[in-house]
Symmetry: C2
DNA sequence: CTCAAATATTGATACACATCAAGATCACTT
DNA sequence: AAGTGATCTTGATGTGTATCAATATTTGAG
């Protein structure tokens, strides 16, 4: 079959064959642990981090109620976090891309409240929390950085709350696309052409919409020439237009 | 005017005339800073905490974009936190009752993203973050407790996200009432009879509903004898029924 | 106490999104 | 390559909540 991708540029493959995996040479270290540490400090951080085999699509990184042991940085791939509510159904609470950290919900009661599942084959750096805590005593900057990560999670979730409280289906989808766009951009990937790692079902669940509404909204955004979509491929054709829609303009 | 309150028991007035204000004798210290500290440690914590004049209804504790300096524990009264979204309108992100801590959003970028406003006259304990950080180095338990506070904020917000994503108006209102009920209960106040500190507008904003829907939902819950409401007074008459509704039963 | 402004209630109607239903396309498995 | 189940799209219809509108009640000021 010929390539008929709507995304012209070839997709940057995450190279998992770094000569030597270490925080020092990881190209994500400006996002993940952007602490201005000395070389030996980075080395110390590097030593506590464990890198297991890649997670395949659909595999769990951890499950709700598992004992909290570690936080995890996504090195490549993508994952979703979800909780099970009282009535039994799932709620996707977030998508996490390379350089981002999951597991911060685990500190509250010493067990995770979310389950985390790979959306595609993903490499993960495990950061045992006990060791991180010890290291933090010596490295106040690391300590502070960790607090910032948590605080950012809080403010990000407040944005989601605002989105779910007020925004139309169109604004919700637009916001999600812009969020992914921004995050890709900070990882030096294209801000306008990318693959969605998650299914329509996941998007709908996350944004409080049915998959039919998600599908129709994508169709409408395409018809109005704001984006082009083909399955999981997305091309943002009118960033400003999308930003207007995300704000609630019509 | 005769008292025609639907709440039989007299409301527990927050006594602000403790013989001497200190974390050691604060009756909220099991909620606010439930760290098993030695007496001298509590004393140290106590020393860094500042207690200003009470905040009157409508007054700001801090405003979005103010430089982050402190976190704040509510000692009496109640406050709301809110953000302003891109399109300019407010989003109430949370209500905070005595023993609860606000300001954790400020760490992300060294300025607050929320504004916090008193819903009624409130006494607040200011905890300068720099001092807290210093003290934490000596008291690992305090450090850990602070991380737990943040993590709890994260998991609580995820519950709100789940609520806003799926739940009906009735389930949202039921959840809020149960949340306040539980929190009152942990403060040794009545779990079934209390005053709502916030307006219908605030409730609607927080839960992603219009005030008309809030009003109608209260009316419906009253008609089905699950609660009794009169303005801000609430009496939960059927806790189990309310829990069922919160879960999405009909 | 009286008035004005803010807040809350209640009713009638409209609409955005859910639900129901049918097909289409994709991605595995054999 | 064919078959099967998962995922996605598109259409027709229904419904919960928003919106619009009018009135009632409460709160605060003078």
């Amino acid at each position: 079959m010929e390539s008929n991708s709507i995304i012209a540029q070839t997709h940057t493959k995450q190279c998992t064959h770094d000569q030597k995996l270490s925080c020092g040479n990881c190209r994500l270290n400006t996002i993940c642990m952007p602490v201005s540490l000395h070389v030996d400090d980075i080395d110390q951080l590097n030593k506590i981090i464990q890198r297991g085999r890649p997670l395949n699509k659909g595999e769990y990184l951890y499950r709700a109620n598992d004992t909290f042991t570690s936080v995890y940085a996504i090195r490549s791939g993508a994952v979703k976090a979800l909780t099970i509510s009282d009535n039994g159904d799932e709620q996707v609470t977030g998508f996490y891309l390379p350089g981002e950290v999951v597991g911060l919900d685990g500190l509250a009661n010493n067990n995770y409240t979310n389950s985390v599942i790979a959306l595609e084959t993903s490499s993960i750096c495990e950061i045992p929390f006990g060791r991180l805590e010890e290291l933090s005593v010596q490295l106040p900057k690391l300590q502070r950085h960790f607090l910032q990560l948590m605080s950012r999670e809080i403010t990000h979730e407040q944005q989601i709350i605002s989105l779910l409280g007020k925004a139309s289906a169109e604004a919700r989808i637009a916001s999600l696309l812009l969020s992914i766009s921004t995050r890709n951009s900070s990882r030096k990937l294209s801000a306008t052409a990318f693959l969605l790692p998650m299914s329509r079902t996941d998007i709908g669940n996350y944004l409080g919409l049915t998959i039919e509404t998600v599908s129709r909204t994508f169709a409408r955004l395409q018809k109005t020439d704001v984006i082009a979509v083909d399955k999981k491929e997305v091309l943002i054709k009118d960033v400003l237009g999308l930003q207007q829609l995300a704000k609630g303009a019509e």
